[in-house]
């Protein structure tokens, strides 16, 4: 039998071993178990997996991607990090900033305010060594091997961000984690985990970006949060991968008693994305408010799947997902509000609104309810429609040109979702990015000077 030496730069067991070697024992074991599960599981298949019926990834070949950038100039590519820094400065200049690429942590600024409060902010790999019990609490949100793509993340993430906020501490500034990648066929595994103790609060931003263009890119990301009783987390996710990116992500939170979670996700880039938002309202009185804005054009395929699971009593969840699609773009939304038998006095809501802007764009909406408690109020709605002719006429009759009228209307359509963005700076940033998308002034990804593999 011929032995082939596996490259440690591809999605391979050798790459897992490299990471395991640099991990504490418990994490190395977890990585290896995840890799085993990954190799045993088949790729999701639109012909056989109901979840993937409307999202076809048969053209994705994992063997094409490199988890390590080619050896060489580490400085080149800093231009992209500067772009990330500028975005953060625009939206949240006071935030603690971590910049992560395939090469690891590239910047770590403004931590002092938080460390002074006793907040732990570090790379995930460092925290795994220094604070294993805390990190394990967050990892417990994912069962090893629960899905192929999540198992890939579990085995291969290299650099991530970990935040721990102690009891009753209001983190004074946000934490901004910027994940960026440059170069062809890159694979990156953003990993942001946070544990909030009782009555703690935190604002967190994950931003993902790669240069505008068609460079193939694979992102398999996870953001995992555990909220103690009365804890409050505002999580923002701004996705600006280039037009050649395949993006898979799981954002999951477990809420204690009276905890409050607000999530805001802006999906602007990528070639194809499938993102899961899971909120488990475990303790009584928890609240989860989830908001998404999604703009698809060209041939983008944007798939969001959500789960609002009500386990405690008197919990409240509310999801609003606003989508605008044009050209040949496709949007898929599939959600489930699951109210367990004992979860009385649940309020659960889902709204998915799709604005179809023409071309051969498509939208599928599948909001589902499984209700086993009776003293509840649950509802959902899906709409799909084109631009209202009356509204268009109203604006045109006031001298607004057709194109501008349409853009105003799309922007107006997104406004109520934007209004739900917890952090005002992020709201303004996303509003600006959306405007540029709507006007066709920007492509997927960010404008960055050429050069460098990150």
């Amino acid at each position: 039998m011929a032995t082939t030496i596996e490259s440690a730069s591809g999605i391979t067991g050798a790459a897992v071993e490299t990471r395991a070697a640099a991990s504490p024992a418990w994490l190395a074991e977890r990585r290896r178990a995840a890799w085993e599960a990954f190799t045993a599981l088949p790729m999701p298949d639109h012909m056989h997996d109901e979840d993937w019926r409307r999202t076809d990834i048969s053209k994705l070949n994992l063997a094409d991607f490199s988890v390590e950038p080619p050896p060489g100039d580490a400085v080149a590519g800093d231009a992209l990090i500067d772009v990330m820094r500028t975005l953060r400065a625009e939206a949240a200049p006071d935030s603690a900033f971590l910049a992560i690429t395939r090469r690891g942590l590239r910047a770590c600024d403004e931590m002092d305010m938080l460390t002074a409060q006793g907040v732990i902010v570090s790379t995930l790999e460092e925290a795994a060594i220094q604070h294993p019990e805390l990190v394990q609490r967050a990892f417990a949100a994912v069962r090893v091997g629960e899905s192929k793509l999540l198992a890939m993340w579990d085995a291969l993430w290299r650099t991530g961000v970990f935040v721990y906020v102690p009891r009753s501490v209001d983190a004074r500034v946000p934490v901004w984690a910027a994940y960026s990648v440059a170069g062809d066929n890159a694979a990156i595994f953003p990993a942001t985990l946070a544990v909030l103790d009782d009555n703690a609060s935190l604002t967190l931003v994950d931003s993902y970006a790669s240069p505008a263009g068609d460079a193939p890119l694979l992102s398999s990301a996870a953001a995992l949060f555990v909220l103690g009783d009365d804890a409050r987390l505002d999580y923002h996710n701004v996705q600006q991968w280039g037009a050649g990116a395949w993006h898979f992500a799981t954002h999951r939170a477990i809420l204690g008693r009276n905890a409050r979670l607000r999530v805001f996700g802006a999906a602007l880039g990528s070639r194809l994305q499938k993102v899961y938002w899971d909120a488990l309202l475990d303790g009584d009185g928890g609240e989860a408010l989830l908001t998404g804005v999604c703009f698809g054009d060209e041939s983008q395929h944007m798939d969001l799947q959500s789960l609002q699971r009500h386990r405690g009593q008197s919990t409240h969840s509310d999801l609003l997902h606003k989508v605008a699609v044009r050209d040949r773009a496709v949007s898929v939304y599939s959600g489930l509000i699951d109210v367990e038998k004992q979860a009385q006095h649940t309020d659960g809501y889902v709204q998915n609104r799709n604005l179809m802007l023409g071309g051969t764009a498509k939208a599928s909406g599948i909001p589902r309810l499984e209700i086993k408690a009776n003293d509840v109020r649950c509802s959902h709605g899906v709409t799909a429609g084109h631009i209202d002719d009356d509204m268009r006429f109203y604006l045109e009759s006031r001298g607004v040109r057709r194109d501008d009228a349409d853009r105003l209307i799309v922007r107006g359509f997104m406004q109520d979702a934007l209004d739900r963005t917890p952090h005002p700076g992020v709201r303004e940033l996303v509003a600006r990015l959306l405007d540029e998308e709507i006007h066709g002034r920007s492509q997927a990804g960010v404008e960055a000077p050429e050069g460098g593999e990150l």
Partner: protein, 467 residues
């Protein structure tokens, strides 16, 4: 390039001469012999025998659905697929009929003769007189209203033209089963421009042969015609058969209007798995009025394919799930042509641990522009033990649409109850009133005698609902 070819044509070797009819008629279980015996007994043409045998092959090959209600209780080998032996046909003793059923008959005011039939005590219901007088009127108009066996025999050309074109035998496992062993059911043909003013009721032609497990109904409405067909009844209907798998196909030609009303109240041992589908051509309207009150499990999703411009589809669905029941119902509207519209309203109630599920699919094909669709589902849970689910799928593939779907699940509002009890109405009655109001959009579409019966039935069901 090298290609690998494989054989696709299949040869169904069975012919009538291979079968000993008397032996297989009264055995349980399914086999090509049983299917051939059915066909031989009915003196069917060769094409129908082939159709049945092909369907049987599909049924055997196909896996059980992995979604929907729990069907693990069905024992396919323990079923008579055609005629039962005389001992089974005699039915049960009136003394064996549960008291609760007898009480319901009392409260609904069901005539004595009907009671015995509905309770499975008598195999005949003498509705022949009513049926014959209606038939004369219909014949004058050129309307055909008979059973499918007769349709196949006496109107073979038109029957063959449409049979199996809306629901082909391999559409799903239970359509395949029905296609193999179908018997009874109605054949309705309405000629061009004819309006049938009286509703055609399947009840008119009932006897145990026709009100079967594997009914097959085919309704053809020619250009500009109108017909309303009603099947079922609100009274609890006992069936010794545990599996009912019916198929209903409707073709509504240009500007035709077909309304199909079903009220189903099968006994709690029945698995009721039905495939119902209609095609609406240019300017046509099809309405499904679907009431599910009985059975242990019902899986049924009336569908309308809007194939011609300006076609319109309506589905009005009401479901009631009590102890041990799962009503898994819904609707499907497929917009193939532009300028089409559809409207779906679903109301369901679960109590005593019952479970209602709404399962729907709206599809708008890429060439279907200027389409309007509205779906509204509301579910009430009357107690802690009950469950309600909503699984709406929508695939919108043309940007020029106006589509909306909304669903709610809740219990009866306390303020509503309070309003009524504070006016001296006992809580049980108040709940019953509210339940009546909740089903009102459905009940008001029924012919009066059905509406009256249904309201009475709901009142009976709601007794003892406040615990």
């Amino acid at each position: 390039m090298a290609v690998e070819a494989h054989e696709l044509t299949k040869d169904y070797k069975y012919g009538f001469h291979d079968v000993d009819i008397s032996v297989f008629r009264t055995e349980k279980g399914l086999s090509p012999e049983v299917v051939a015996a059915i066909s031989a007994h009915k003196n069917e043409p060769e094409w129908m025998l082939k159709f049945r045998l092909k369907a049987l092959a599909h049924f055997e090959k196909r896996a059980m659905p992995t979604w929907g209600a729990d069907l693990s209780g069905i024992d396919f080998n323990n079923i008579y697929y055609y005629v039962k032996p005389m001992e089974e046909q005699a039915g049960r003793d009136w003394d064996d009929v549960p008291d609760s059923i007898k009480e319901t008959f009392d409260k609904l005011g069901i005539p004595q003769a009907e009671r015995k039939f509905l309770a499975g005590v008598s195999a005949q219901y003498d509705s022949e007189v009513v049926y014959h007088s209606i038939r004369a009127d219909l014949e004058k108009l050129g309307v055909i209203f008979g059973d499918c066996d007769t349709g196949l025999r006496d109107h073979s050309e038109i029957f063959r033209k449409y049979f199996g074109t809306v629901i082909p035998p391999n559409d799903n496992k239970f359509a395949a089963l029905n296609s193999a062993v179908w018997s009874g059911g109605s054949f309705v043909y309405v000629p061009k421009g004819v309006r049938v003013d009286i509703p055609l009721q399947a009840y008119f032609r009932i006897n145990s042969d026709n009100m079967g497990q594997f009914e097959r109904t085919l309704i053809i409405a020619e250009e500009g015609s109108y017909v309303h067909y009603i099947e079922g009844c609100t009274a609890p209907t006992y069936s010794s058969d545990s599996l009912h798998s019916a198929v209903v196909e409707i073709i509504a030609h240009k500007d035709a209007h077909v309304r199909y009303t079903t009220i189903q109240n099968w006994s709690n041992n029945v698995y009721n798995l039905v495939t119902k589908r209609a095609i609406a051509y240019e300017g046509a309207t099809v309405e499904w009025i679907d009431g599910n009150l009985g059975s242990k499990v019902t899986m049924k999703y009336p569908a309308i394919y809007l194939m011609g411009e300006r076609a319109h589809g309506e589905v009005l669905s009401a479901a009631f799930a009590g102890e041990g029941q799962h009503q898994d119902a819904g609707a499907k509207c497929v917009h193939v042509a532009p300028h089409t519209t559809s409207n779906i309203v679903s109301r369901s109630i679960s109590k005593d641990g019952g479970r209602t599920s709404y399962r729907g699919h709206i599809k708008v094909y890429p060439k279907a522009h200027d389409v309007k669709v509205n779906v509204r589902c509301d579910a009430l849970l009357l107690d802690e033990a009950s469950q309600s689910d909503t699984y709406p799928y929508s695939d919108i593939e043309n940007p020029d649409v106006s589509f909306g779907h909304e669903a709610t699940v809740s219990k009866i509002g306390e303020d509503q109850i309070f309003y009524l009890t504070s006016r001296g109405i006992p809580e049980a009655e108040a709940t019953a009133l509210i339940v009546n109001g909740f089903f009102e959009p459905f009940v008001k579409e029924l012919p009066m005698e059905y509406a009256v019966e249904l309201n009475r039935l709901l009142a009976v069901q709601m007794e003892g609902s406040v615990g």
